[in-house]
């Protein structure tokens, strides 16, 4: 990632004086999946919580099980050990209260226009909203992500960045309890990625949604997150939890930002040396 960032303030969350009941709680979660004839342990006894309105980032190299962990929160995978709770209820299956944004561009339904893609889950989820309400909501959210001109376009007519915008709009329109982002900007070019990160923060500024964001980029983690959970691989374990927004890092150019960046790099690298230098 480049270093010429100009946006100074990654919107600090209000300081937490009393400890509120966590929205999401992950307790001692071990995840395993089958790969061919082998049983792979993706994460080992992971603990963390996310409060309402928090921008929590799961950061780690490939193989640390961060995506698998996100899928488990999404309900696509059951933990073999431990439990995941949202609002005090255990997560057992996928549901529209945990909308996911994936890295891949093919997450949109190709047979629906931008507007229909956002409308469809709203209709399916049956929130009890009226048709007029839904239509208005869709119109607004399309405007928010700057795609009004493309509302009637099909996904194959859009650029990669636009597709990710639609995916984010689709997820946000559902007003989920928590937004799950699986490296949503990883397939974009560097310039588009920077813009999308800023726009995401802007959206968060507007609505203060709760977000669980997976990335392998330290820069992205520091930019997007208010708290970063650093995971180490094989199997994934929590190495450190770093408050980023509350400390007011002061933007990517600042010494504080660079110091935290260094610190996280160090955490991830020493792990590698601990294990004998191999990856």
């Amino acid at each position: 990632m480049n270093a010429a960032f100009r946006k100074p303030d990654p919107f600090p969350t209000p300081p937490r004086t009393e400890v509120p009941a966590p929205l999401l709680s992950v307790e001692g979660v071990t995840l395993q999946y089958r790969s061919g004839h082998a049983l792979v342990t993706a994460t080992h006894r992971i603990d963390f919580t996310a409060a309402k309105g928090e921008r929590l980032v799961l950061l780690g190299p490939s193989g640390c099980g961060k995506s698998t962990l996100l899928k488990a929160v999404g309900g696509f995978l059951r933990p073999v050990e431990g439990r995941i709770q949202l609002d005090g209820r255990e997560i057992v299956e996928p549901g529209p209260d945990r909308m996911m944004v994936f890295q891949e561009f093919d997450q949109l339904l190709p047979w629906k226009t931008v507007r229909q893609n956002i409308l469809f889950p709203l209709r399916q989820a049956r929130h009890g909203w009226s048709k007029a309400d839904i239509d208005e909501k869709v119109r607004q959210i399309i405007g928010k992500v700057g795609l009004t001109k493309f509302a009637e376009s099909y996904p194959h007519q859009l650029s990669g960045g636009m597709k990710q915008r639609v995916a984010i709009a689709r997820a946000m329109a559902m007003e989920p309890a928590i937004l799950l982002m699986d490296e949503p900007f990883a397939s974009l070019d560097a310039l588009t990625r920077r813009r999308m990160q800023d726009d995401l923060l802007q959206l968060w500024q507007d609505t203060r949604f709760t977000m669980l964001f997976v990335t392998h980029s330290i820069d992205e983690a520091l930019l997007v997150g208010s708290r970063v959970i650093v995971l180490t691989p094989h199997p994934g374990r929590v190495r450190a939890v770093i408050e980023t927004a509350a400390e007011a890092l002061g933007g990517p150019g600042s010494p504080r930002f660079r110091a935290v960046h260094e610190e996280i790099s160090g955490l991830l690298l020493t792990e590698r040396f601990d294990q004998g230098g191999g990856i």
């Binding site: 899928k71 549901g95 339904l109 007519q157």
Partner: protein, 281 residues
């Protein structure tokens, strides 16, 4: 730094865009080229028939066209064609329904997948028309026998294609669908079927082609049971009466209906679905 070229003397090739000449434009249209080929074939046909001079064995293009017009306006051709199409639609519909059920089962359970795999492996290589004797034995002369072979003709290729299409639906799209809370038949109907539509459409086309050919062949063997008989029966009947021009007219009708469905119906369906969605070029 800058250098200016003398562009005052523009020759013919320097013009950016120029319309093609009229003949070139006309020849550019596929319809025109096809029409020329058809006209050439008709001419060849007419010429050979006149040289052979044996209308009983090989009627000329003119005679066939006349017979076609007669049969269409005053004869039974339209009726017979409608009888065939009616039976076909019924059999096709049944086949599509069963294929949908089988493919849906295959998409949702591993047992269903094995079942479909085994059944298609067994029955797909078996030409539907080979089952006609058995059908006659079981259901007698009549529409049920025709339906039996038609369903067999449509079911396996369509189920095979649909199931392959379902399996080809990407993991991301599947997760997106389940993320909406869709399950069971709603998940299949709202996510899997549209996502696999290119393959399903291919299956529908293959099924149609099999069914149409099978039906005409079956009707050649029998077809009077329902009282009116179909196109195949029209051809068979006229051959017995040595009305060879009518036989040709009947064959022409088979071709025309086949073309209309394959060329118009499916082409239009394709344009309004998979092409519009960018899933197929």
């Amino acid at each position: 730094m800058s250098q200016a070229n003398d562009i005052s003397s523009i020759d013919d090739f320097a013009v950016v865009e120029r319309p093609l000449s009229l003949p070139a434009q006309v020849w550019d249209k596929a319809v025109v080229r096809r029409a020329v080929i058809l006209a050439g074939l008709a001419l060849l046909w007419q010429g050979y028939a006149m040289v052979a001079g044996n209308p009983l064995m090989f009627p000329s293009f003119g005679e066939t066209a006349q017979a076609f017009g007669e049969a269409l306006l005053h004869g039974t051709l339209l009726n017979k064609a409608w009888t065939s199409v009616k039976v076909l639609l019924l059999g096709y519909g049944l086949g599509v329904l069963l294929a949908g059920l089988l493919a849906g089962l295959a998409a949702s359970t591993r047992f269903g997948e094995d079942l479909l795999g085994t059944l298609t492996a067994m029955f797909n290589p078996l030409p539907a028309i080979a089952l006609l004797p058995l059908a006659l034995l079981w259901f007698g002369l009549g529409t049920p026998s025709l339906l039996f072979v038609l369903v067999h003709a449509v079911l396996w290729p369509l189920a095979l294609n649909a199931s392959a299409g379902f399996r080809g639906v990407g993991e991301t799209l599947r997760m997106a669908g389940r993320n909406y809370g869709l399950k069971g038949w709603r998940y299949i109907g709202l996510i899997l079927i549209p996502a696999a539509f290119p393959q399903i459409l291919t299956g529908l086309k293959i099924g149609w082609a099999f069914a149409w050919r099978t039906l005409i062949a079956a009707e050649l063997v029998f077809g009077v049971a329902s009282g009116t008989g179909g196109l195949g029966w029209f051809i068979f009947e006229n051959k017995n009466r040595l009305e060879t021009a009518n036989v040709f007219a009947g064959l022409g009708t088979v071709i025309l209906i086949g073309l209309a469905v394959e060329g118009l119906l499916f082409r239009t369906l394709e344009r309004h679905t998979v092409r519009k969605w960018g899933m197929q070029r």
